[in-house]
């Protein structure tokens, strides 16, 4: 963590709202992109990003620097997303996933990006496995760190990532 960021965190913890806003602004993009991949739904990613910022503000004094600030933010974001998932029925989840994927496809077309079927397959991987898979293989966290982020034992994090990858392969095979 840079000295500048450390200074900003200290100021924010002492109630400096400008430092707090600056800190969130610096991490906004990382947070939104993480949630976009975790949820595969741009609208939901945006909503959870807003909720995360508010929750981080409320819990700012409890941040102790034992992990990077961005890791702390995505820990809170992941738990907020999981809470939302628990409140939803399977049907609602399916509808949201379809809407999310349509929106992402439309964005790809607008930006002239080539569509990747792996994203379709990823959206069908169940959320806990998808998050573990992302954290491990895209963000490069260790299983211990993933366990801390998700609030689960290291072994469970490992099996979720492995099962997520297996599920992804099966979905890709089905697409073929």
């Amino acid at each position: 963590m840079s000295d500048e960021e450390l200074g900003m965190i200290r100021q924010a913890q002492h109630g400096d709202r400008l430092a707090l806003a600056q800190l969130f602004q610096n991490h906004y993009s990382f947070l939104y992109k993480y949630l976009l991949k975790a949820t595969m739904d741009p609208q939901l990613a945006e909503d959870v990003t807003q909720d995360t910022i508010v929750r981080c503000m409320e819990k700012m004094t409890s941040y102790n620097g034992s992990s990077s600030f961005s890791s702390w933010m995505i820990t809170i974001a992941t738990r907020l997303y999981i809470d939302r998932l628990r409140r939803r029925s399977r049907e609602e989840e399916w509808i949201r996933r379809e809407q999310g994927m349509r929106s992402i496809r439309w964005q790809f077309e607008t930006k002239g990006e080539e569509w990747s079927d792996v994203l379709d397959a990823l959206s069908r991987v169940s959320s806990p496995q998808r998050i573990a898979l992302l954290l491990k293989h895209y963000y490069g966290y260790s299983y211990g760190e993933i366990g801390k982020i998700l609030g689960i034992p290291e072994g469970t994090a490992k099996s979720r990532a492995a099962y997520g990858l297996k599920q992804l392969r099966e979905e890709m095979k089905m697409d073929d």
């Binding site: 992990s67 961005s70 890791s71 792996v118 954290l135 963000y139 490069g140």
Partner: protein, 135 residues
Amino acid sequence: MTNDMTGPDNGRKPGDAPDKEGRLKAEEGPVSAEIALPELLAGLERLDRAYDDEAGPPPLGMLQARLIAASERHRRRALREWLLFWLVSLFILGFSLLAITSAPPVYWTVQGLVPIAGIIAAAMRPGRKGRGERR
């Protein structure tokens, strides 16, 4: 966890290709040699690129205004909860004092009923949980 600016705490950055030669083979068995991971990483990088504009942070002033509004909401909610807590506490305390001074039998009946109700509720809890799991 080590301390870096963004992303994983082990110094790797989002999108870094995983160590297929070592870690994946060792941890996930021979099936991991399939092509799913490189494809996945490429797809996710494309997704990041497609949302570069949307992921841009809001202006500092707007963010600050949102934080002030959220902080005000939080303060009001905390005040409401605090008031409710004291109101309920005072009501229970007042009722207990009134009962013990003017109608001791009522007070002792309530004192006796509360633990019994608690025991019944505790006894019924596993049954409810069990039914919920079967559903």
